[in-house]
Symmetry: C2
Subunit: 347 residues, 2 copies
DNA sequence: TATTGGCACTCATAGGTATTGAGTGCTAGT
DNA sequence: ACTAGCACTCAATACCTATGAGTGCCAATA
């Protein structure tokens, strides 16, 4: 079993290795951290840690490096999440203060997170399906062509041009708009789909075809995959940390750009909420745990964000397994709070 | 002066170097390309090319590599733009065929271009200010809160939430909508700003405050910088070609992500239209020419796209100076045509 | 005059060997 | 339970020596 001091040694190894990228030796530890014991004692502890597969030696005779399992223990038990400095908080506020549009808010937020962590920052687009409908509009564009606009209470606006097979007039359009709004406003998107057919049935025979096509476009918007998208910033940072990967980072960058695997991972992290160890509102997925997503050797930290009514989606950062978890977890958490507040103001 | 054959040698050097990333020697040239002369003769030609600074030798005794100037001559005089293969054209059509939304069109297009060229693909967002107004809508959201929606004939939809200092009713909103539409529809955005005050003046005293605020929001949308944005794909490809850069690609990736310098470059390339050498509708900016933008050692190929009424914006690719100009120019040109057509269909 | 064969010269690259030193595991002693 | 001491390992470094692709130049040739 690993002793109390053993864990302290693990913490020291993780911190030093993250800071220097050099395998950490027993001498380094006694020099930098004030353990009251000799290097030989530390070596004994390290031998135990190695038995537990929490650390490993790159070659027979070099210092130790944390394993994925070691990082896991560090994150779950040893990392202290120190809050951001006042300067950093101030920087975020200025950064986000000027934004007006929701896309603007998201773009600025993701950039702030990237700059704060020096990693790739990711924000899942606010899920339309989990939000509520605030307003619905049909805009006449041309004969047989209408623009359907759907506004969610998160401030997200979705639109789609509909080509109709039947004619319409403004009165009909207005009537349809009023009826659908009456039926849908305030309703969670997820529940809305079920109500749609009833709306069509409520119209006189003559309007049925038009109503059918327009309402269908609403359903299409709700069911659309737009919400399954990530906004990202700081991909350049992955290049900066290239040496932390054994192979090329090309496949990783490809996977990130492709988004689809990353979104699956986001989904899983949202689902498991990752135990309840302490104040762990930030989920962490480490190294090989991400292999199924083509993201081996990376770690992903995420947390939920949204209005008071509950989380709408997730945001986080991605970087090499060898990263500063303490700082990054703090940044992710703080930025999520700022974004949630900004969205609350908005909606 | 460089002889006819000398230019042919330059072409051979560029092609070989691009293909192999190895400095090209005289022997290689006589082996691969059927010049009817000996290696010694080629060496004489190469000495001349070196005097003209079209090629250079990395070290005293290795093959030659094209200089930026050499690439410039190659692009302006020697590159043959071979059309895409039928398979490639087919791939594009399938790729773009399914898209419905304009954002969807752009996203798919930029991905197609990245995949075709194996470079970073860039599309400048269709400039709102150069397009015409197709429709304008004020959507009532809540007391003192209205959503202004502006639809351009390029299919671009811009929206903004307006907080009002005065109350309104639906009738007033409708009247305003009709009046502004009557005044603005069909007008180029750039000209619209001038007309806005007159619209407000056309309203009775009581509606002036409301009209003023709403019309102002229209002006804000038109003047917004949203159009100054790039959609991009294939940044992973830069990593793949990392060895083509002397230093780290980190600053380059940063510059690309930042977008602002890149947009300046796009602007310049649009302005100069780059001479009239032959069928040069694709502009090329090579290596050190891009240094002021923080993009030394890269080349950028762009061309305009848009409806029949003229170019709306530009698209192109960015990659290391050592790239396959012939193929990439062909791809850029072809994709621009497909996109222009898709936008025409859309609008 | 343009081209070619021949040749000495250069210099990056690859391979081989010796040296160094950080760090370990182990054992015996406190 | 801890520590000092010591033999051992092995990556990293330096240094040396081919090797060979490729050049520039010159004299010979068409």
């Amino acid at each position: 079993m690993v002793s109390e001091r053993g864990l302290a040694v693990l913490r020291a190894i993780v911190q030093d290795y993250v800071a220097t990228r050099e395998p950490v030796g027993s001498k380094t530890i006694v020099d930098k951290h004030r353990f009251g014991v000799s290097a030989a004692t530390i070596r004994n502890d390290m031998a135990l840690l190695e038995d537990e597969e929490l650390i490993a030696a790159p070659h027979t005779s070099s210092g130790r490096v944390p394993t994925d399992k070691g990082y896991r223990v560090f994150v779950d038990q040893l990392a202290d999440i120190r809050p951001l400095s006042p300067a950093q908080r101030h920087a975020i506020e200025i950064f986000l203060g000027e934004s007006v549009d929701i896309d603007d808010v998201l773009t600025r937020t993701v950039r702030a997170l990237a700059q704060l962590t020096h990693q790739v920052a990711l924000i899942q687009y606010p899920s339309v399906s989990r939000a509520r409908i605030q307003h619905l509009e049909f805009v006449a564009l041309a004969p047989r062509r209408v623009l359907t606009v759907l506004i969610a209470d998160t401030g997200v606006v979705e639109q789609r041009v509909v080509e109709l097979s039947v004619d319409y007039d403004d009165a009909a359009l207005r009537a349809l708009r009023d009826a659908t709004n009456a039926a849908l406003v305030g309703m969670p998107m997820a529940d809305a789909s079920a109500v749609l057919p009833a709306i069509v049935d409520g119209f006189p025979e003559t309007l049925r075809p038009l109503a059918g096509e327009l309402v269908e476009s609403v359903g299409a918007i709700i069911g659309s995959t737009r919400q399954e998208r990530l906004i990202m910033a700081g991909t350049a940072n992955l290049v900066r940390t290239e040496h932390d990967f054994t192979g090329s980072i090309f496949p990783i960058m490809e996977a990130i750009e492709e988004q689809v695997e990353l979104l699956k991972l986001f989904g899983e992290m949202a689902a498991e909420q990752h135990g309840v160890g302490g104040n762990r509102d930030v989920s962490v997925s480490i190294g090989r745990e991400n292999e199924p997503f083509g993201l081996a050797e990376t770690s992903v930290l995420t947390t939920g964000y949204g209005a008071a009514s509950g989380p709408v989606a997730r945001l986080g950062v991605l970087g090499p397994t060898r990263m500063d978890y303490s700082t990054n977890m703090a940044a992710v958490r703080a930025v999520a709070r700022y974004l949630s507040r900004a969205l609350g103001d908005q909606a």
